[in-house]
């Protein structure tokens, strides 16, 4: 009897502990590197958030689809953890899905040209937020992944598992994998930005990177370590075929291009030095896997070493950008200051001025005759 009572007391204590851990501290750390609390995204019994008399969601999600569920929290203006704004104000490393929602029209030598918002980002399907399937590509460029299945969860594992999680024999997750935190003994960190890995269905391990926040400036930015291009190749494999395309990936060191990067300040200005040559507009991978070293690099203004490498995100953003093909800068005009979208386009779309370059005024910061930032490495201007 005493044992039963003791067991009951022990059980209550354990339950209380679980409740405290479950209910306390959930704010501000919803994912926490691993799976969040279930009812943040799911409605377990087709209860009011997902009524059976309406259109039941097969995944019991609190959104019409996975991406809409994510955007319940991640849609909003301003910086922070938002990724879809109404005014292009999310200046995050991945970019603002705003650019998928608006188009603009300009004229050039060929006549009137209307932009194609489908071409400005990954067309994740989020019905509740007006994000629809890619109207141009039925499969991923350079791959076979079907556009009709693209969502946030195509790249991010919402359950935050690493290598299949504990059910697959992995250690528990104790810290986020995004911010360089050291995991507690006998635990591991989650993947960077909850990115999916091989066990999740991607063709490569989750890339290694660290960031110190949500934004991206030249003095506060992600520090990429390894594996980004290999991971992107899960869907865009033909685009990371280095024998036929622009080299990209772990083995594609910058070599001599690193010297170009470090001396290049702007078109015609080669007075730069490595210690201050970094621009977040042209990122690179540091061939580093130590989170502590990468964390220190998130505030570094230093340019690359010769052993650092180019990756997909050197030229592209992951979510969306103001430019065709999700590039970080306009690659379709000779002079960036004359590129599209123009200031008038931005205003007409309801986008913040300068939002295309994250607050940079190209003419002021680089000069009226600044040419493509491809020249940061290639110096052909």
């Amino acid at each position: 009897m005493k044992n039963r009572k003791g067991a009951m007391v022990h059980g209550i204590a354990v339950l209380a502990g679980v409740l405290i851990l479950t209910l306390g501290g959930t704010a501000l750390a919803f994912h926490g590197g691993g799976v969040a609390h279930c009812d943040g995204c799911h409605s377990m019994h087709n209860s009011p958030e997902n009524p059976v008399e309406g259109t039941p969601n097969s995944l019991l999600l609190k959104g019409s689809d996975p991406s809409s569920t994510c955007l319940n929290c991640h849609a909003g203006d301003g910086g922070s953890y938002h990724i879809l704004s109404s005014d292009a104000s999310n200046w995050s490393p991945g970019g603002d899905f705003f650019w998928l929602t608006q188009s603009y029209t300009n004229s050039n030598w060929s006549g009137s040209v209307t932009s194609d918002p489908d071409n400005m980002g990954h067309n994740v399907i989020a019905t509740d937020y007006g994000l629809t399937v890619d109207g141009t590509n039925t499969t991923a460029p350079g791959g076979t992944f079907t556009s009709s299945g693209l969502g946030c969860d195509s790249c991010h594992d919402p359950h935050g598992q690493v290598n299949g999680g504990t059910a697959n024999g992995e250690l528990p997750i104790s810290v986020s994998g995004s911010y360089g935190e050291a995991p507690a003994p006998s635990t591991i960190a989650g993947n960077y930005r909850l990115l999916g890995d091989v066990e999740y269905g991607l063709a490569a391990p989750a890339p290694i990177a660290v960031t110190d926040g949500f934004g991206e400036t030249d003095v506060s930015h992600p520090a990429y370590g390894q594996g980004m291009s290999e991971w992107c190749a899960s869907c865009h494999g033909e685009y990371v075929n280095n024998s036929q395309k622009h080299p990209s990936g772990n083995g594609e060191f910058l070599n001599g291009q690193s010297a170009n990067y470090n001396s290049y300040v702007a078109t015609g200005d080669f007075t730069g030095v490595q210690a201050t040559s970094f621009t977040a507009l042209v990122q690179f991978e540091r061939q580093e896997t130590d989170p502590a070293i990468l964390l220190a690099a998130t505030t570094s203004t230093a340019g690359p070493d010769s052993g650092d490498n180019i990756m997909c995100l050197t030229c592209h953003r992951a979510h969306a950008s103001a430019f065709n093909n999700i590039t970080r800068w306009d690659m379709e005009h000779e002079l960036l200051a004359e590129g599209w979208p123009t200031a008038a386009n931005l205003t007409a779309m309801g986008a913040l001025p300068l939002s295309d370059y994250y607050g940079r005024d190209i003419a002021t910061d680089f000069g009226d005759f600044q040419r493509s930032l491809c020249n940061k490495c290639h110096v052909q201007d």
Partner: protein, 482 residues
């Protein structure tokens, strides 16, 4: 002996069952769906429209940022005017008492208030004058008009600037400083779970989502990452209410917030796709909406506005436009709320008298809002000892004054609110379940209340409200009335 115990237990259980669910307050508020805001082509689509009500003319304005237009609807929900050219960067809209339209536009690190006439024609920009130098980086993205004042909110920096209709600075409020105790509480919680510098750093990213001001000057705002809503009185008292969860009355991702003339508070929840209704003492009353395809359903509700007739306007995602509900607060039940508050007051007074060591009531003093220097007008929470705030109810003839917050000694004995100094003693009386904590703004203590009990059932009958789907052609209804 065992059989007797069993019998007693059985009787007690039956008695509990006979009493049924305890849900005294929710019976007082009913919400029924009326119609979506429409024009002669049908419902007007919009995505998270920003809403403002012209109380004098019973018109509602909907700013659809994605379509760059502003539409005006009459009291029957019919569109009567559209404008918006030149305001593609409009972030919010407010309506003055005389029908003036105020549009807030944003630029790169700038924001501008525009004055328009009732035709939507630009009259002038309203330059902000005498803004303290310390607020030079303030960029507003929310705008509220209340009784001759414009409240401008920078939701990222959690700053509020109040100016008059000519743009002259009146006062400012640093909500982040005011929220510091609540934020520190979160830090402590998270510190207790694991030592994580990052999560504490994340507190720097706290932002305001919904914001409104009631007729008494109380500011209400929601903070999604805290799963909470707050009321900041003109005197600087901060009250927090709401609790994270999925059940009725609980907060998911809180967004828009508005207050009616009786003091009832309406909070939109994007995640749960509902609008929650709280009485003036923060007691949960009911909720309506729910995700789905039904006309009465809501899809990720955001901004809210309510008119004097009890029509509540709900801006939604999924391009569903603005849904209109009619909220009825039964007078009898409202009287019940008042009576309960009076009883609460008596109990509280009695407790204070019976406790020999109880300190004298300390009446909260309003912060001087007329500081000479503009810098001095930046309001932060006054530093005080432990306080316990009780719902304040005073009956007067004017409905809008039925419920109000006591903020000065001049309100005397007809108020039921007092701030009491305590020394660590927890008083659980009279504070509604939904009030998670009453924050001592000096960050010395916090007052927590048991969250259990009284949560209404999900059953609509039990919870005391019904959805009456009245989407049967309100266009004809409006024609008939005309």
């Amino acid at each position: 002996m065992t059989g007797r115990c069993f019998s007693i237990s059985l009787i007690a259980l039956l008695a509990l069952l006979a009493l049924g669910p305890r849900n005294p307050a929710s019976a007082g508020v009913t919400a029924s769906f009326r119609y979506p805001l429409s024009n002669f082509s049908g419902p007007v689509r919009s995505q998270w429209a920003k809403l403002a009500v012209d109380q004098e003319r019973s018109e509602v304005y909907a700013l659809n940022q994605r379509a760059n237009d502003i539409r005006i609807f009459d009291r029957h929900g019919m569109e009567i005017f559209v404008f918006g050219d030149g305001y593609s960067t409009a972030a919010d809209i407010a309506i003055g008492e005389d029908g003036d339209i105020f549009i807030l536009t944003t630029g790169y690190q700038t924001s501008t208030v525009h004055l328009l006439n009732y035709r939507g024609e630009h009259v002038s920009e309203i330059p902000l004058e005498n803004i303290p130098e310390s607020l030079s980086e303030f960029v507003a993205d929310r705008l509220i008009y209340r009784q001759g004042s414009l409240y401008l909110v920078d939701s990222s920096s959690l700053l509020v600037i109040v100016v008059d209709e000519e743009g002259f600075f009146k006062e400012a409020h640093d909500l982040k400083a005011t929220l510091k105790p609540a934020l520190d509480r979160e830090k402590r919680k998270q510190k207790a779970i694991k030592d994580s510098d990052w999560k504490q750093k994340a507190l720097e990213y706290v932002e305001v989502n919904g914001f409104t001001v009631d007729s008494q000057g109380n500011m209400f705002f929601t903070v999604p990452v805290l799963f909470s809503a707050f009321r900041l009185s003109p005197g600087g008292e901060l009250m927090e209410f709401g609790r994270a969860g999925s059940g009725p009355g609980k907060f998911g991702v809180v967004s828009g917030i508005t207050v009616d003339e009786m003091g009832y508070i309406y909070v939109a929840d994007r995640l749960r796709s509902v609008v929650l209704v709280f009485d003036p003492s923060f007691k949960f009353q009911t909720e309506f909406g729910y995700r789905g395809d039904r006309p009465s359903s809501l899809m990720v509700p955001d901004d809210l506005a309510i008119d004097r007739e009890g029509n509540i306007y709900v801006g939604q995602a999924a391009n569903r436009g603005v849904s209109v509900f009619r909220v009825v607060r039964e007078a009898a039940v409202h009287e019940e709320v008042l009576e309960k508050a009076v009883v609460d007051e008596a109990i509280f007074k009695e407790a204070a008298v019976q406790e020999p060591d109880a300190p004298e009531a300390e009446v909260h003093e309003a912060v001087d809002q007329e500081a000479d220097a503009p810098e001095a007008a930046i309001q932060q929470a006054p530093v005080k000892e432990l306080e316990v705030h009780v719902a304040v109810v005073r009956e007067t003839d004017a409905p809008e004054e039925v419920v109000e917050e006591a903020t000065s000694p001049s309100q005397g004995s007809d108020t039921a609110s007092r701030d009491f100094e305590e020394s660590g003693q927890v008083i659980e009386e009279d504070v509604p379940d939904e009030v998670e904590s009453i924050v001592d703004l000096s960050d010395q203590v916090e007052f927590t209340v048991d969250q259990g009990g009284d949560t209404p059932s999900t059953d609509s009958e039990k919870s005391g409200w019904t959805i009456e789907e009245d989407e049967s052609n309100h266009l004809e209804e409006s024609r008939d009335e005309e």
